[in-house]
Subunit: 232 residues, 2 copies
Amino acid sequence: MADHRSVPEPTLRRLPCYIHVLKKVEQLGRQSVSTSDISRELKLDPTQVRKDLSYTGIVGKPRVGYPLKDLIEAIEHFLGWDECTHACLVGVGHLGKALLGYNRFGEYGVRIVAAFDVDEAVVGARISDHIVYHIDALPEIAQRFNIEMGILTTPASAARGASQNMVEAGIKAIWNFAPTALELGADIIVENAQLYATLAVLSRQMRGRVQAQPKPSPLRITPGAEQMGPEP
Amino acid sequence: MADHRSVPEPTLRRLPCYIHVLKKVEQLGRQSVSTSDISRELKLDPTQVRKDLSYTGIVGKPRVGYPLKDLIEAIEHFLGWDECTHACLVGVGHLGKALLGYNRFGEYGVRIVAAFDVDEAVVGARISDHIVYHIDALPEIAQRFNIEMGILTTPASAARGASQNMVEAGIKAIWNFAPTALELGADIIVENAQLYATLAVLSRQMRGRVQAQPKPSPLRITPGAEQMGPEP
DNA sequence: TACTGTGAAGCCTTTCACAGCC
DNA sequence: GGCTGTGAAAGGCTTCACAGTA
C-alpha cells in the first residue's frame, strides 16, 4: 500500500490524531516511535495504525519503529499541511471570532488572510489581528490574496448565500461549520464540520443505552466533530 | 428495527442533520415529509434515511411520509435532547467563549450552568451571562448544580488534568474539544469533537487526489467535525 | 402511484494471522 | 524478541430489490 487513489476516509480522520501524539512524543526528546506506542495512546489497534501510516509512504524499521521526525513530516506532507493554503472566514460571530483567534492553523497548512461579514457592527473591526471586510469585497480580496479555501461560520440561514458568494469569488473548497448542507456545483469541495454529530453520540450514550462495550472503546471520532486547541 | 442495543454510530451522527432539515421544512409550514425529501436535501440514499429513522421507533405512512412534528420529537427523544443535561465548560479561551456565547444548546438538551478556568485574567469574569469560576470550585459547584456533562475546551497540555478534575467532581460524560486522547476510567463517557479530522479530509481533497467520485458525493461527515450555528 | 419497511447482497473497514527482518 | 508489512477473514454499514400499503 503506498501512494495513490482512494485513501479510506476513516484513515484521513485519524491522521491528525497521530500527528498530535507524535508531536507530544517528540517533545519528550525521543527519536522514534512504534505503532504500539501510538495505538496505546489512542486506544486503537496497532495493525490499523500501521495500515494508516503505510498510505503516507513511510517505511519503518523492524525492532525499532518509525523515525519520529520523518513520520511527522510524511503525514503532514501527505495531507498537504506542509504547504500554506490561503483561506478566508465568512461569518464573524462567536465561532468565527474563535477561529480567527486560533493562531495555530499554520501547523495545519491554513492561513486565514481575511474575514468577512455583513453586520456593520463588526465590519471594519480588527479581530485577533484580522481585518473584517464587508462580504461585497470578497471577490476582489479573494483574487488579490489568492484565496483557495473558505471557512463558513455564519448561522445556518445565511450559509447558502455566503457559500455562493465564495464560489463566485473563485473559491474551490469550503470548510462548513454551519448546520446545513450546501447546494453547490460538483466541482466545489465541501467538508462539513458538524459539531452536533459528536454531541448526538455522547447524548445517546448518556441516556443509558450502549453501556459497557465488548472492547475498550477505541478513540471515538464521531465524524463531523473535530478538535481544536484553544487557549484557556 | 426499533429501540434497543447498538445503534450504528454513523446513524447517530446523521440524526442531527435530519433535525436541522426537518426544522427548516417545518418553517415552510409543511405537515409531513418523506425520506426522499430529506435525502434530496442531504444527498443521501433514501433507504438509509428510512433505516436511520426506524431506530427512533417512528412509523411513516405510505404515500404520505412522516408527520413532521412527531418525527422531530421522535429523533429528539431518541437522542435525549428533549431533556436538559446540566453541563460545565472548562477552559475559557477563544473556543470556550464561543461555546458560552452559543445560546441554542437548549435545543440539543444541554445547558451550560458554569464555566471554569485557572487564568486569573478570566476567573471572576462574566462571559455571555456565564460566571467564570476557578477550577478549584468545580467539585462544589458540580454537586450543587447537579452537573453531568463536562465540555473540555482547554489547550491540549491542560486537557488531561482538567478531565481528571471533572471526574473527581463526579462528572460522567466529557465532550472533549482538546486535541488529545484522555486517559480516564472505562465508566467515563468521552466523545472527541475533533476539528482537524474534517480539515484533513478537506486538505487531502484539495491536493488533487481523490478527484471526481463515482457518485454525487454524499453529505460528508468526517467523524469528529461538527457543526454549530454561530451568529454573524 | 408514491410512499414505507425490510431481507439480502455488496462494499468498505477493521481485525486476525503470520511471514520477514534485525 | 519485538517490531513492520500484508494477505485473508470478519464485521458493519450501505445499497439494492422488492413486498406491503393507502
